[in-house]
């Protein structure tokens, strides 16, 4: 765009340019950081160098215009910056510093698609290394892969900022000291490692839904960040059932985001949701991906593919009454074989009740162990007992559930179902 064309709009233009600028920086950050981490072999140093390069871009580009290849500009600038830091830094072990400097000086400027793709994968697999605690993986992913500030990560995960800063520092130290190498796992390890990445991204996604009360805005965007990572993973490693299943699961759940709460912020259960408020585009994409994930793992179904299939059964039902609960129960049977956890069995029991087998469902719920402190166990029991006309028992179960939750939305849900609680 040439200058001086829109003189009448002068006041708006600098803002527009700076908006475009920050968008570019935001979009390129993960890729630039990924390449820098390969070049420096040091995540912390790479983060600092990329941060400096971004500041430099914000100062330079408004004057010079946005360079034709902003990504290359940022990588080259950050690379020089890393060299400066390494030269000045005395605390590093001399041998490591020499190696890093040599790599920074001698590695060719390679911005080819293959190299950039591998760089991103290396960064993802490093942040989601199974030797890091799940909470550290989630925090690192948000900070490093999504580019959230420490304060934003802390707010999103409902942790004090100082605690989050410490958690991130510890994770980076472990990566450096314990020798978690910045690389794509070997073929033999790849399936397991992809499952770890998928689990972490899904954890991040569910964090976005865990609480509506505190920091609702951040938490909504948390789910969106997770979806973005899911899309990136499918793009980087196409044709993987676990990743397609992950993305499908997230898209399907996310397609119902506007229908999950009413205007008062109360939970609306799937059966009562206004399906016109479901995001049809997301749901359609999710159903297609779920089908693809199931096709790809037909002999040994991937957990995420099966979870997506269950979610897809709901998505294709035009009304709650149209839901094919028999299909859902059989998918839960498959899921229970892969993951016989009490939560899966509880969900299977709830589906069984929808098939009309309420007594069998209650027996299945009563046979579960290890969920005594789980809100949904008692809420489900209360609902089953209510349907069986056992009002007194239902009230006892509902009161138990009530005591187990701090969430106002969950409390109100119980009050709706069990008036007089």
């Amino acid at each position: 765009m040439s200058t001086g064309e829109f003189t009448g709009d002068r006041a708006a233009r600098p803002r527009a340019v700076s908006r475009e600028l920050t968008d570019i920086l935001q979009n390129e950050r993960c890729q630039v950081l990924a390449s820098l981490t390969r070049l420096t072999g040091d995540l912390g140093l790479a983060e600092d160098a990329v941060q400096d390069a971004s500041i430099s871009a914000l100062q330079t580009w408004p004057r010079t215009g946005i360079p034709p290849n902003p990504r290359a500009w940022l990588i080259v600038t950050a690379r020089h910056r890393a060299i400066d830091v390494l030269r000045r830094e005395g605390s590093r072990f001399a041998k490591e510093r020499e190696a890093a400097l040599m790599q920074l000086h001698e590695a060719p400027d390679d911005f080819s698609v293959g190299v950039l793709r591998d760089d991103q994968l290396r960064l993802i697999f490093t942040c989601c290394h199974p030797a890091l605690a799940a909470e550290a993986q989630v925090a690192l992913s948000l900070r490093v892969l999504c580019g959230l500030s420490v304060a934003e990560v802390a707010r999103a995960l409902l942790v004090p900022e100082a605690t989050m800063a410490k958690r991130l520092t510890r994770a980076r130290q472990k990566i450096a000291a314990a020798g978690i190498r910045y690389r794509v796992p070997d073929d033999v390890d790849l399936p397991d490692r992809m499952r770890v990445v998928a689990t972490t991204v899904f954890l991040l996604f569910t964090e976005g839904y865990a609480s509506r009360s505190a920091g609702a805005h951040e938490r909504r965007s948390l789910a969106e960040e997770a979806v973005r990572l899911g899309r990136l993973l499918v793009q980087l490693l196409p044709g993987e059932a676990v990743l397609e299943g992950l993305l499908a699961t997230m898209l399907l759940q996310h397609s119902r985001r506007d229908a999950r709460f009413d205007s008062a912020g109360d939970i609306v259960l799937l059966a009562d949701q206004d399906r016109a408020r479901w995001d049809l585009a997301l749901a359609t994409e999710g159903v297609e991906l779920a089908a693809s994930a199931i096709r790809r793992s037909r002999n040994a179904p991937e957990r995420f593919a099966v979870v997506a299939a269950i979610s897809a059964c709901h998505a294709i039902a035009r009304t709650a009454e149209d839901t094919d609960w028999n299909a859902i129960v059989s998918w839960y049977d498959v899921l229970a074989r892969l993951d016989p956890s009490p939560v899966v069995l509880l969900n299977r029991a709830a589906a069984l009740a929808e098939c009309g087998q309420v007594l069998e469902a209650l027996a299945a719920v009563d046979a579960l162990h290890g969920l005594d402190d789980y809100f949904w166990l008692h809420a489900t029991r209360a609902e089953l007992l209510r349907r069986l006309g056992r009002g007194t028992d239902a009230a006892v179960a509902a009161a138990l559930a009530r005591r187990l939750t701090d969430s106002p939305a969950q409390q109100r849900l119980l009050e709706h179902r069990h008036p007089g609680l």
Binding site: F93, K95, E96, H129, A131, A177, A178, G179, I180, R181, R183, P185, D186, D189
Partner: protein
Amino acid sequence: MTSYVALIYTPDVDWSQPEYAEGMAEYQTFGEDAASVIRGGAALYHTPTATTVRVTGGKGGDVVLSDGPYAETKEALTGFYLLECTDLDEAIRVASMIPGAWNGAVEIRPALPMTVRVPSLETSDTVTQ
């Protein structure tokens, strides 16, 4: 390359007893299989043989001894290896082959890359003579 110490926590067995010969043989096999990365290590006598040493009041203070291991736990430190691996993934692969990993647990810890000055054996006349 990174140096790792693999600390083996298992039931507190007395390796010197003949009934553990089979267990020792498993370690022998592991030692041969992982020879290229093992830089050292030992099986330890069981914890009743341990002595815990503390010095109170800083360097040169009173030496206080207690009979037994530092921490009384169900599973005890019963052996260790010093490993040299390219990265944590390789160290994890090696550690998962140590018999203690299925008889208990193996903790792998990276060792700081610094040279500990040890008097060389060649110049120490008490050893070479």
